[in-house]
Structure formats: C-alpha cells, structure tokens
C-alpha cells in the first residue's frame, strides 16, 4: 500500500525512477493506482482549499 502511495506521489510530482516505474506497470494492479490517485487528488484539492481558506481568514 505504501508503495502504491509513493508511486502515485511520484506521478503527481512527475518524476519516478525507471526501475520502480517498470515494476509498478508490470506488477501493480491498475485499480489500486487509480483509486489511490483519485483519493490523493481529493486530498490535494482539500489541502489547497484549506490553505486558501486559512489565508483568506
């Protein structure tokens, strides 16, 4: 699980080691990556929104 999260984070950042990427694409389940990706996208939105609301006071 942690590995999936790390890979999704790497994808968000856009940089991933070639070996890890190949490992993910050959052994990972696409469903897990998509699910974690969606969750992380929601987390991302919430974080930015929270930041904006906090700054706006």
């Amino acid at each position: 699980m942690w590995g999936v999260i790390k890979s999704v984070l790497a994808a968000f950042f856009g940089v991933q080691k070639e070996r890890q990427r190949r490992h993910d694409f050959e052994h990972g389940k696409p469903g897990a990556f998509i699910l974690v990706g969606l969750l992380m996208a929601v987390v991302f939105v919430v974080v930015i929104a929270a930041l904006a609301i906090y700054v706006a006071g």
């Binding site: 950042f13 856009g14 940089v15 080691k17 070639e18 700054v55 706006a56 006071g57």
Partner: protein
C-alpha cells in the same frame, strides 16, 4: 529579496521607458494608488522571472540547434531520463511559484479589504453608460460618452481623448478611502480604470465591492472591459480626482443643483423648455439605440419617428419609458432619470422628427405615476 524586487522594477521602468509609463505607454501604468503600484511591481517581477527563464531555456535550445546540427557532423547521443535533472527542473519552478504566490496573496488580501470606507459610490452599468450614485448624499447622475458621432465616422478630426471622454465624469476625493458598490441593470459590464488597478465586473442582480484611495489629483480614464453588446466600445469611464476640500465643495454644489431640479417638478413647464431638455436627455440616453433621427435599428431597436403605437397612446409611451419592456433591451428608466428628465424626454420623442403630437407631458404627471 526586497532589493531584487526594486532592481527588477527599476528595470521595468527602463523597459517601458520612463516617459512612456503612463497613457502613451507600452506597459502597465504604475498608477496613482498604493495598490496599483504594488500590482505593477508584481507584474514586473513575474515579467523578469519569465525573461530570465526564457533566456536560459531558449539559450540552451538555440545553442543545441546551432551546435548539434547534422550538417556540422553532429552524431546523436543516446542518453535519456535522469532522475536528478528531472527533480531539479520540477522543484525549482515550484519554489519560484511559491515565491511569487506569497506577495500576490498579500496584495490580494489588501484588495479585498473594502472596510472602513469614508465614501460609498454605487456604480451601475447600463447599456451603454455608467450611473454613479453617492450613497447617502442624494447625488446621482449618468455618465455618457461625449465623443461626437462625426469623429467616429471620420467626418471630423479626432480629439486627444477620442472615445475616452464623457459628459459627466465621476468625481472623487484624493486621500480618502472610497468604496465602490458595483452592479448592473441589464448585462454584465466591467468598470475599469487602469490607473487605480480597479477592474470589477458589474453583475445584474448582485453587487461587487471594490475600493480605491487615490494619491494624486488628476483625470483618469478607462473603459468598459466586458463585452456588453453593440456599444461596448463606447462606454468610457472618466474619473476626476480632486483635492479633498475641492471635492466637498463640488458635492455641496451638486446637492443644491439636485434640489433645484426637484423644485422644478411642481411647476408647469413650457413646451420649448421640455423640448430643449428632452433633446439633451434623448441624445445622451436614447440615441445610442433608437438613433438621433428616431429611426432606430429594427428589429432589436424599433424606430420612434412615425411609430404609430407611440403617437396614438401617450400612456403606453410613458409606461414603456418608466418601466421598460421585459425580455427586450429596453430598460426601466423610472429610477435612473428624475421626473423632469422623464417628462422632457417623452415630450421630445412625441414631437420631434415629424411626430408632432403636440403633447406636453408635465413632470408633475410623472411624479404621480411614480408614486
């Protein structure tokens, strides 16, 4: 950091050319408020960041294009993918962006703080003019473009402030925080004066707030910035910023004039008086759609000259002017014009261009209808 910003701003002035920084320039004006200057600094900072990145990136690119031409015998290398390089070129832009976001956020917070204003001005966008109301002061007027038609069609030489001049400018004091309440009667307009760095859409049915504290007296010009129909290009904004005491005096005079006109409501007006005032009102309010010769531009804007419905039915005519026609571009003028202006403009359009009904509508009649 501060030093760097100052340097960049200095460079910006060089770039724009010091003398060009204002009206005739190539660049955003520094403007006459603290916020407009802050925005100018933000603008120049991000501009120079882009220039530096551009020089580096395009430098590498054109170096490569020059150096690694096949015609010069370049053989292609086979490297690809390098995690370190990729992390750097992702992280560095991210840091630059955070560096930009911090001052931008600070400026935004100031822009959004319209509290503690000393004067409230309601700005209403209409097709195609601005209406200014000094809230609590009983002073309100419309501001129309005053550039003559003949200049636009090129029959007359164009003046210095071609398309950027109005019959009645908005008058504001300097050194006071003025809050704007912006709305619209028909479609969305946008009130923009570059020297104040104020651009705010006026949304029909809603109110937006903005504010300004002007540092220097002067005449500042802007234009409607949101497409609002046929004459979108012809609804300029002119602000006359005065010393504070001068402004107070102006406000007193305006109030007295408004009272004087209100007094005129009760008396009987002569036909000639009504026609004269009516022509004036018609020219500034109605002519943009119904045309100066009353011909209109059908089907959107019906002609008034020889319009049988209008000639036959004075009550209908008054109702249309007062209440507008829903679902069309004809707005209600009941709260935008005073009874004298309403009576005069109805009288004028009933007697001009050969309509010759002979009806003289009195302001008192209108007052009755408005109640």
């Amino acid at each position: 950091m501060r030093k760097m910003l100052a340097l960049m701003t200095g460079g910006g002035t060089l770039f724009g050319g010091a003398s060009l920084a204002h009206a005739n320039g190539w660049n955003m004006p520094v403007g006459v408020t603290d916020l407009s200057a802050e925005i100018y600094t933000l603008h120049m900072t991000i501009f120079w960041i882009c220039v530096v990145i551009g020089i580096v990136v395009f430098g590498v690119m054109f170096y490569s294009l020059f150096k690694f031409r096949r015609s010069k015998g370049a053989k292609s290398a086979h490297f690809h993918e390098n995690t370190t390089v990729e992390v750097i070129w992702t992280a560095v832009p991210l840091l630059i962006l955070v560096g930009m976001a911090v001052p931008a956020t600070a400026t935004l917070q100031k822009m959004y703080d319209a509290s503690d204003a000393e004067l409230d001005v309601m700005i209403t966008g209409q097709q195609w003019r601005w209406r200014y109301e000094y809230l609590g002061e009983d002073v309100a007027f419309n501001s129309n473009m005053s550039t003559p038609r003949a200049q636009i069609t090129g029959e007359e030489e164009r003046g210095e402030h071609y398309l950027l001049e109005v019959d009645e400018p908005l008058v504001l004091p300097i050194n006071r925080k003025v809050r704007f309440l912006l709305t619209a009667d028909d479609v969305i307009h946008s009130w923009w004066v570059p020297d104040f760095a104020v651009k705010q859409d006026t949304i029909p049915g809603f109110i937006n707030e903005n504010w300004v504290r002007i540092n220097e007296p002067g005449i500042y010009r802007g234009q409607c910035a949101e497409l609002c129909g046929m004459d979108h290009g012809f609804m300029p904004i002119v602000v006359h910023a005065m010393e504070e005491d001068e402004f107070d005096q102006w406000l007193v005079e305006r109030k007295e004039a408004a009272e004087a006109e209100a007094m005129g409501v009760d008396r009987e007006w002569e036909m000639d008086e009504l026609m004269e005032r009516g022509e004036q009102v018609y020219g500034s309010i109605c002519a943009s759609c119904h045309q100066a010769d009353g011909g209109g531009s059908p089907p959107a804007f019906p002609g008034l000259a020889g319009n049988q419905e209008l000639i036959d039915d004075v009550d209908w005519h008054i109702d249309v002017v007062l209440n507008g026609v829903s679902g069309t571009a004809m707005p209600a003028f009941r709260s935008n014009l005073n009874p004298v202006e309403l009576a005069a403009v109805v009288t004028y359009s009933r007697n001009a261009w050969g309509n010759d009904t002979g009806d003289a509508v009195q302001p008192a009649e209108i007052v009755e209808l408005l109640e």
